[in-house]
Amino acid sequence: MFRFIVSRLLQAIPVLLVVITATFFLVRAAPGGPFSAEKTVAPEVIKALEAQYKLDQPVWQQYLSYLNDLAHGDFGPSFRYPGRSVDELIAGGLPITAELAFYAMLVAIIIGVSAGVLAALKPNTPQDYVPMSAAMIGICMPSFLMGPLLVLIFGIWLEWLPVSGWGDLPGDKILPAITLGSGYAAFLARLSRGGMLEVMSQDYIRTARAKGLPEWVVVLKHGLRGGLIPVIAFLGPAFAGLLSGSFVVETIFQIPGLGRFYVQAAFNRDYTMILGTTVFFATLIVLFNLLSDIIAVWINPKLRHQLREGK
């Protein structure tokens, strides 16, 4: 197991290096720069700023010194928020985004898995069609449509929940979590339906029934474990996706999370901020993928055994 984790972590290094390199040169290839603004600024001022942030050096030199900083855990200073480092900005936005992603994940798992399992138990009946059609709508509907729709219904017409904010009013976290989680709930529903359908047709499920076990034991104990393997494999990337994909929801609901910083950084050509967030998200995606792989292996005794064998 240890060897498996180490080797996967080592594999991640070249991946991250490619991400860093591509992002580094792409943001510089995009027209404009951090200090080109509508207002005319004296050329001397720009010169001085560029010198301060080492932008006057050749690009390859900037690249190497950025890599060097990164290796020491330093994402560098932000170009647009003078006096603040990218590290600080990420540390400030991350807890909010992580909390939002966590709630969204809960929504996705609870709604998605139970809908998928229920659908799989009675395939091709209304119990299957209704949740699966809802899932299809959930997948098709983008969050910038889903969010305002929910706000309209629950915030404005019914006046049950606050329309925006984060942690200011009771219940203001519910709508963002549902908006962000619904798309993933739909994916999870389809995955768990597929997984459960396959498992429930296995011979060992018939064996379990032949033993006279109550149906809920057959489903929850014998079915779920195998049926949810595809779901678990998807959870890691899904969580990383929730973290990095939260900017639309954060914008709709006025949430001061990391996603908004990320988008603003892109508009502002805040090189270090873009790079820092990208690298940070890439690392998260790699880690969460690894985590879900580990869980998938751990849940499957056959794979667990092979890993112990050292393959």
């Binding site: 006279g212 050292g310 393959k311």
Partner: protein
């Protein structure tokens, strides 16, 4: 009163293609302490009939009708709650395929104790204690350790024992055995059949034994029912069925058991004499194929080496059919694969027509591959489901440059003639064929490159007896027509006896005995060969009963 009295049981499925009458009004009964064998080919409805009793059939819309009185209560009218109490408690089932019927995610101990916990309401600790006890009873070594193992850590035969233990743990009144030994080798089959009998006697349980193999049934059944197309065509006491056979279908089933004593109708016997003078086409010397077993530890010095093939020397002469027999795990398949260089060999040489294959580069191996082909065991798994017959047969022809785009269709049709497939089937996919027809496709694929050597790895063991005989005859015919040399691997001695000129016996990776088919069956030399031969069931109830007494004395169980 019989324990189970089934009257006019009918199971129909409504499918898109119309109504499938899987079971079409059958009646039978079983008494305590008795064994009823239901015999029939796959698709005859024998399994569906038994599963219908407990409503364990997949739930497509369909009907189950008739009545099935179990201790006076009709199972078919019972609600789910009542059925749940009967399943696994009063009536237990041993399923056919031990590889897929155990839950891979739970330990065998956990799976064993479930019936006890849900039916008897006893504590986990007591149930586990009972599980260990019964694992010991069915012959699992070190049951207190094995109870925590997962199914994949057991071999097929051991898993079957676990299935039996699971069915017996609640001491049911009726045990339904669905082909419990089909996937097993003769020696293990004999052990398991013996085990079921011992337990039956000890607990006076009734047994319904489903099988396609009349020979297996001969020794254990009190009554036999023969099923065909959802109907029971003949039923009665076992001796009547075997000695006073009434129905033509039963006669056909009995006739198609490859007993080997009679020479095949179109046997290449005249050629036999000349074979002995032929030079060897393939000669293997001191071949070793070893694998590393990592389960014993991480460190190299702890690793066990599995000697799958251990110092085997063997010649196969031009035009000869050499039968290679042994139980599962004896290394016979690995030997076959080692010859074709499909697994890396550890040492030794494999000389094919003067060329040592063990150190050929892939480029130089390619023309050799054309001359050596393989037929695999499972025609369901070895054919690509997305390739039509044409694709499957044309691919090797084109790859090896034996046909051009222009004349490939012609050649494929010729191949289909060879293996007895209708021309109209050329655009069909594997799933549209029966098992026997699929194996014909697989045979066609193997001979498409005009090979000199064909290695057939259990080519008929997945097939029904009547189909087996057809495929064996086809193979014999092709061997003669195309002057093939064949290594025929099988665990089934009667099949090998029917087809092979010479037989080699493998045990624990070593070759223990080789000899001509007649001499080996008449006078086996090695102890293991003797044991193997004595474990073959024969379709003769009287001989079987006598033999089983001898076997128990011999101690086949070890």
């Amino acid at each position: 009163m019989p324990l189970l009295e089934v009257d006019n049981l009918t199971t129909h499925f409504h499918t898109r293609e119309g109504v499938v009458k899987a079971v079409d009004g059958i009646s039978f009964c079983v008494n305590r302490g008795e064994t009823l064998a239901i015999v029939g080919e796959s698709g005859s409805g024998k399994s569906v009939a038994c599963y219908s009793l407990l409503k364990l059939i997949p739930q497509p819309p369909g009907i189950i009708a008739g009545s099935a009185l179990f201790e006076g209560n009709d199972l078919l009218q019972a609600d789910d709650k009542t059925l749940q109490k009967i399943r696994g408690n009063d009536i237990a089932i041993i399923f056919q395929d031990p590889m897929t019927c155990l839950n891979p995610y739970l330990t065998v101990g956990e799976q064993l104790i479930e019936p006890l916990i849900y039916h008897r309401n006893i504590s986990r600790k007591d149930a586990t204690y009972r599980a260990i006890e019964i694992l010991g009873e069915v012959g699992i070594v070190e049951p207190e350790k094995r109870v925590g193992s997962y199914p994949h850590e057991f071999s097929g035969g051991m898993r079957q024992r676990v299935m039996i233990a699971m069915a017996l743990i609640t001491e049911p009144k009726l045990l339904i055995c669905d082909e419990p030994t089909t996937a097993l080798d003769v020696t293990i089959q004999a052990q398991i059949l013996e085990l079921v009998k011992v337990l039956q006697r000890k607990r006076n349980i009734a047994v319904i034994f489903i099988s396609h193999d009349l020979a297996v049934v001969a020794g254990i059944a009190d009554n036999v029912a023969v099923m065909k197309d959802g109907l029971i065509v003949e039923q009665g006491p076992v001796d009547d069925i075997f000695y006073h056979t009434q129905h033509d279908y039963t006669k056909k089933l009995l006739a198609s058991i490859p007993e080997g004593a009679k020479p095949p109708p179109n046997s290449p016997l005249p050629a036999n004499t000349s074979i002995t003078e032929n030079k060897p086409l393939l000669s293997i010397s001191h071949l070793k194929t070893h694998f590393h077993d990592y389960s014993s530890g991480w460190l190299k010095r702890n690793q066990k080496v599995i000697k799958a093939v251990d110092d085997v020397s063997l010649n196969i002469k031009q035009g000869e059919i050499l039968g290679l027999v042994g139980e599962s795990g004896s290394g016979k398949s690995t030997l076959g694969r080692s010859i074709l260089q499909l697994v890396p060999v550890t040492s030794g040489s494999v000389v094919f027509d003067g060329t040592d294959l063990t150190n050929l580069s892939p480029a130089r191996m390619k023309p050799m591959r054309r001359r050596m082909q393989m037929i695999f065991q499972d025609p369901y798994a070895s054919l690509n489901p997305r390739m039509t017959v044409f694709d499957t047969l044309a691919e090797p022809l084109l790859y090896h440059g034996l046909a051009t785009r222009k004349n490939v269709t012609e050649q494929v049709l010729a191949l289909m003639d060879d293996v007895g497939l209708a021309h109209a089937a050329i655009r069909k996919y594997p799933h549209e064929f029966s098992g026997g027809q699929r194996q014909r496709i697989a045979v066609g694929r193997a001979i498409s490159t005009k090979p000199e050597l064909v290695i057939a790895d259990e080519p008929v063991s997945a097939l029904d007896v009547t189909i087996q005989a057809q495929i064996l005859d086809l193979i014999l015919e092709l061997v003669e027509k195309h002057n093939l040399t064949m290594l025929f691997i099988s665990h089934d001695l009667s099949v090998v006896r029917y087809i092979a000129d010479r037989i080699a016996v493998m045990h624990h990776g070593k070759l223990v005995e080789t000899g001509s088919t007649e001499s080996l069956f008449a006078a086996p030399q090695h102890e293991y060969t003797k044991r193997l031969l004595s474990a073959i069931p024969v379709a003769d109830p009287a001989r079987e009963r006598k033999r089983q007494v001898e076997l128990t004395q011999l101690g086949v169980d070890n």
